[in-house]
Amino acid sequence: MLRPHPWPRISRGLSILGLDVTSSPSGTGIARRPFTQTPSCPAKPLPARLKINDADLTISYLKGTGPGGQKINKTNSAVQIIHAPSGIVVKCQATRSRSQNEKIARQLLADKVEVQEKGDQSRVALKTEAARKKKASRLKKTRRKYRGLEKEAEEDGSGDLEEEGVEAGVDEREAQEGKLEKGQST
């Protein structure tokens, strides 16, 4: 299935000839073609991020109890954000930086508010759904591979079975599995 991409060899050939591919005046765009075969954007673009009005937010920095200033050197940098309309509270103390924690907390809050508003159609839900499907498909492929290997081992052991018949059998089972998978996902 995976064929080697043609351009690395071409470019090597050109550079051996002393030609600079990247600055070729012909403008064929050979050198600019990406070397990856996976699409750079997902098949279905995610919905735009939810914009949250700053006026709805109460941001507070939690420095723990007790006085601060020169007398004490605190390392606590937690940030807490309250979203007034929904009542969602988010706290973040992932990093030592207050501004970094605020950015993370804002993102967490936006995700939470979106889930509450849109449910299944929110970015987070769509992303987890996509990840779940990907994992299921990967597991299916693994199962198929090992089943094939087992079959081969059996064949080597017995050696008499006709190849075509076995392959057809596997294909049938795959088709059934595919149907099952579809049934689960819908």
């Binding site: 941001i59 920095y61 420095k63 601060g68 200033g69 020169q70 050197n73 990093t95």
Partner: protein
């Protein structure tokens, strides 16, 4: 300091055998967990990766982490162990012998930047206004230490002002070295614009202006600037400054010893940056912890600072500074507007300040003749 309950210690030990070490300095399980996470991240980052082991595996990071936790349990500040401290979006390098930037100072710096922007927007249009092309925005940061205030102000204000001149002053050569290193470090990280190298200057000077020392006083540095920029005015001995900001040493000798100052601070951070010199004779019966403020207020009047922001230890000290300023200006010669920040409940909560105790700053607006 209250004893840590045995139950907490046992729970910490069951979670991770290094947590009880950190608990000695952190005092709460939650912050000990955080510090352990940060230390582990650093230990993993700094250890060399091995090609023989699995990808991502690091050599000797466990030993490194254990020794870092042991240092922390002896009271060494986390920032000296890790070597840096975030300040706004900057990363400030921290070394022994220089005070570690505090989160309160960060709040004051943001507030100062907000005030300068507000002032520029209100005063737009006239020729002395710093947004104009001819005159740069001038900022003076006294007792700069790591240079954190000066650098963060540049990061916050550079998008709004075409020309800026920020002068950081400190007595300690170690601090000045570190401040310059921090400038370089943050320009390389692209947290600061490249022009910061030209806009920010650090100089050695004695803020207290003691006659006996061979170190120049702040005025000498400023007059040098006035000559260089050709703006020397006969009526004004020093160039006008838009923002004068300072976090001077403000702990009294008794507070330094009686337990209000944390052990870690007392043992590992420089006394020079915390306690004003005892031998220095203050005027008019000033307390020994307040000697810096009189000198800085005097300077602020000399340079006609539009905004002055001074960090103080607590509300009482802030009130003393306000009173000092009132007597120095002799009532209402100019229309000054002096306030202690933060005082409103909203500001206090938003910036994580303790409602009664803890650090405050004094903000003085004005200096314009009314």
């Amino acid at each position: 300091m209250p004893r840590i309950p045995t139950a907490t210690l046992v729970r910490a030990y069951q979670e991770n055998s290094l947590l009880p070490l950190l608990l000695k300095e952190c005092r709460s399980l939650d912050s000990a967990r955080n510090e352990l996470r940060w230390l582990r991240e650093r230990a993993l980052r700094d250890s060399p990766s091995s090609s023989r082991l699995a990808p991502g595996a690091r050599l000797g990071w466990r030993t490194r982490l254990r020794s870092m936790c042991r240092q922390r349990s002896q009271g060494v500040p986390l920032q000296y162990i890790l070597g840096d401290q975030p300040f706004g979006d900057l990363e400030i390098l921290c070394r022994r012998g220089v005070l570690i930037p505090r989160p309160e100072t960060e709040s004051y710096t943001y507030e100062a930047a907000r005030l300068v922007r507000q002032m520029a927007l209100e005063g737009g249009g006239n020729s002395t206004d710093p947004t104009s092309a001819t005159r740069p925005l001038r900022i003076l940061d006294l007792c700069t230490g790591t240079g954190c205030i000066a650098l963060l102000l540049h990061a916050l204000l550079a998008p709004h002002f075409k020309h800026m001149q920020i002068i950081g002053i400190d007595l300690s050569p170690i601090a000045l070295n570190l401040a310059r290193k921090n400038l370089d470090h943050n320009v390389r990280r692209e947290a600061l614009h490249r022009r910061a190298r030209a806009d920010i200057q650090f100089h050695r000077a004695d803020v207290l202006g003691r006659k006996a020392s061979s170190i120049p006083a702040v005025e000498e540095i400023l007059s040098h600037y006035a000559l260089k920029s050709g703006l020397a005015d006969i009526s004004v001995p020093a160039p006008r400054i838009d923002l004068l900001i300072s976090n001077p040493p403000y702990i009294s000798t008794s507070d330094f010893r009686n337990g209000t100052t944390a052990r870690s601070v007392r043992l590992f951070e420089p006394r020079l940056a915390l306690v004003p010199p005892v031998g220095f004779m203050g005027q008019d019966g000033d307390r020994s912890e307040d000697v810096f403020y009189r000198r800085i207020l005097d300077l602020s009047l000399k340079v006609h600072a539009q905004v002055t922001v001074l960090e103080c230890g607590d509300i009482m000290q802030a009130d003393r500074v306000v009173e000092m300023h009132r007597t120095m200006t002799g009532g209402s010669r100019c229309n000054f507007n002096v306030e202690v920040w933060p005082t409103t409940e909203q500001d206090l909560a938003a910036h994580g300040f303790h409602p009664q105790d803890g650090s405050r700053c004094v903000i003085i607006h004005g200096g314009r003749d009314g």
